[in-house]
Symmetry: C2
Subunit: 480 residues, 2 copies
């Protein structure tokens, strides 16, 4: 292996999967943990998660939800109370059978999701229509045993938020379900610069126990889809299983209607695969741990002067709210540093050498785009925030164009197979599970969602020719 | 049970323990979870935790530490690598034996603390002296099986932060150990208004695997001690167990010296027991979810006018950075609301009635202190922040006086037993474990710490008369 390859990553065009696996480790986002399928989130990755978390948490609070915390360990019997739920999650459960040196009377499952334990608590807390809506959210770790783990995308443990809400009726619960989806759409677009498509899952792709599941789907740079967040209308399924009832204004007892919605650390994998390239990560400024890295250049006494000026710039940029890092390591060459920060996806680099300093400028290099330009040191703190916003906007535009260029409206099977080989197909479908299964067996593509904003349309199923369902086209694609 | 008792709590003087158990549930901080010993943190309690977390996290970051995340599930064999560690934690472990529908080849323990898994990762990340110090912190849940669980104080699962750091030598690791202790001392004092005493644990009270354990100890209102945070110098014990080695500047391989320090959700119990009274919680403003509650008073059209004015005050107080809640519920009486917010420990209440409004004032009631006073509505946003600061300072002063009044310097056994019956004894002790055990058997008191700022002193052990150890007095007390 060449020294270049050791430090860099396999090109996307050669092996996208290898590119991803190498990148998330070499860019110091994550690493494999000791137990199979587990993941360590390194400081650089965790900072990215904190930034995403803070943006999402603010929106969750602004829309009236309150954070709370529920137990990790759930009595096994709880999982079995909702028939579809237990069927969906049983194969993925991690089970605590021994604790405190003894075998437990009833095994405890490590939460794979918290509908059951939160359902139990809601049944204790809700008695009147005045207690509704109840709008809760939890930031937590969950465990789902994965047969084919993949860093950030499918790990046995991951971090997420899960909102759980209870409402007087379907109409209010559906408003909430769509609100959750809208929050996710905005966070994906405005924070991670991923132009996701919000839509409804077909029945075969629903959450175990849900009446309707909505999703946001992003397109990765290999044309595959990634489910980036889901929002579920659970009807009164969990309310019946856990007896969540309330007295209506007229005094009758009624079951609440509940929802849940979640977004996970998987989003960091989505950012890597939406924006990254052969040089490494490309981070949207809003989730970049460092938005600017300053690299001082020079030798001996000249370097001292340059480093002093770099420190001054660092402090002024930070005061302007720009997350800035000064890479003043002396045992590494500027070239090495350039490569490292490109690999780690820092949006902007400012090189500062004696000649720059004499001219009162820094040399600015964007993570994407050719060439370098001079930036006046004295006004840099005023200029950089808008350059960062431009960069953020550019990433969203580029990803939108990419998605549009790789999405094809298809009306026959040949066009379908060709479209899903490298992107998405917008196709009419009969809505039958067996037909979905055949499509998957032949092409590895699955229905990703029925887009919310799709136009009304009907006709023959692209696969079997039967009349189409859903009243609009469905997005099909291979998925992570 | 009278209606009063249903809504209120058992007086402290009658049964402090019952007072606490009822209070933390009725004030909606926490509730028992379904599995034995587990705890649900309700939105009001969780908001308090978030406020404490944000203050602590800021200080952790400001002192150069980076957050990261390590797996919940740890191979059982890891725990056994450090002999004292496994002995200390084995009785408390929860063990996953089955996952993904199969029995695991090696059981996984649910982390009781993360020295082992972080030690393993540090051994992969550290190779040169340039990688040191490595200053990591994790916010996470941990599980320790508790035979006698108590809400917030001892629950099978709790939330905490655990800092884990690696250093070139003992001197640097000890600096870090004391830094952790100082951060805790400041947070306890300046955020939760608890005048903790920082000190070193005696050998019998050390963390399993530590060379030296430091603690901050607070005095609760029943005179008992509560360990509110600990900081451990681990020597090279974990470095040897996990092979954390680095190349020194001269190129030799040396073991790192590591530390760990943690503070938990137990702090919320400490706040309840340090400041609370028979009316309920008394929250220091810095961790109060609501610092001010506005209660509008009036009927019919008059009430509408009052509520409008209350909304205006709400918005102006919030703009001034005061966490304010408007309790505009119409189906509850003002008296009911007063009781509820007193129970929940809100520092300040502003009553607003038609007569107040006509005079351009609100009626201000502090959670502690007699009487009410008028506060001009137009300047309230300027006045309230300093009233809150006064309240915060008052709580610290009151708790300090209480601690001082219940701490006795003792030189004989009678004085000792009398002191630890209702507070702390400052006593000389021989330092022998068997003597500590006898004291505990007789009085239920244990050595809480050897205070850092204790004056040099020596003499005869208060219990056995042998020469004293430690070179200063030890705090003894009954503890939570």
């Amino acid at each position: 292996m060449s020294r270049q390859r050791e430090r860099g990553v396999t090109p996307q065009s050669e092996d996208f999967s290898a590119w991803y696996n190498e990148l998330v480790v070499k860019a110091e986002l994550v690493e494999r943990g000791p137990a199979k399928g587990t993941m360590v989130i390194r400081p650089y990755g965790y900072r990215m998660w904190e930034l995403l978390q803070s943006e999402l948490d603010q929106r969750i609070k602004d829309t009236g939800h309150e954070n709370a915390y529920f137990p990790l360990l759930i009595p096994q019997s709880y999982l079995t109370r909702e028939a579809e739920h237990v069927e969906g999650f049983s194969p993925e459960l991690a089970v605590v059978t021994h604790a405190g040196g003894k075998e437990l009377d009833e095994p405890l499952v490590v939460r794979p999701t918290s509908e059951t334990v939160i359902g139990e608590m809601m049944s204790r807390w809700i008695s009147s229509h005045r207690d509704l809506p109840m709008l809760l959210n939890q930031w937590a770790n969950v465990v789902r045993w994965e047969m084919r783990p993949r860093l950030l995308l499918r790990t046995t443990e991951f971090l997420w938020q899960e909102a759980h809400t209870a409402h007087v009726d379907e109409a209010d619960a559906m408003r909430e379900t769509m609100l959750g989806l809208e929050v996710y759409t905005q966070v994906a677009r405005d924070v991670t610069a991923i132009p996701v498509v919000p839509g409804e899952k077909t029945p075969g792709e629903r959450f175990a126990g849900a009446v309707r599941t909505y999703t946001i789907e992003g397109m990765m740079r290999d044309g595959r889809a990634l489910q980036a967040g889901t929002s579920h209308y659970l009807g009164d399924n969990f309310a019946r299983a856990f007896n969540i009832r309330y007295a209506t204004e007229s005094g009758e007892l009624a079951y609440a209607h509940t929802t849940s919605w979640g977004m996970t650390t998987r989003m960091m994998g989505a950012v890597a695969m939406t924006h990254g390239d052969d040089q490494g990560l490309v981070l949207p400024p809003k989730v970049a741990p460092y938005q600017v890295v300053i690299v001082p250049i020079g030798k001996g006494e000249q370097l001292d002067t340059v480093v002093d000026a770099a420190k001054d710039l660092l402090s002024r940029l930070r005061s302007a709210g720009v997350r800035t890092h000064l890479d003043a390591r002396t045992h590494l060459s500027p070239g090495f540093k350039f490569n490292q920060w490109e690999l780690q996806g820092v949006p902007l680099r400012i090189e500062l050498g004696p000649r720059d300093l004499a001219a009162g400028v820094g040399t600015l290099a964007r993570r994407l785009g050719d060439g370098k330009e001079q930036i006046p040191l004295d006004t840099a703190p005023e200029l950089i925030p808008s350059i960062l916003q431009e960069f953020q906007d550019f990433l969203l535009q580029r990803a939108t164009k990419f998605r549009e260029a790789h999405t094809t409206v298809v009306s026959d099977w040949d066009a379908f197979t060709s479209a899903v080989a490298g992107g998405w197909a917008l196709a009419l479908h009969c809505g039958e599970g067996s037909c979905e299964d055949e499509i998957k067996a032949d092409t590895a593509a699955t229905p990703r969602c029925v887009p919310l904003d799709g136009e009304r349309e009907s006709g023959a199923c692209v696969r079997c020719g039967k009349p189409s369902a859903y009243g609009k086209r469905v997005i099909f694609g291979r998925a992570y």
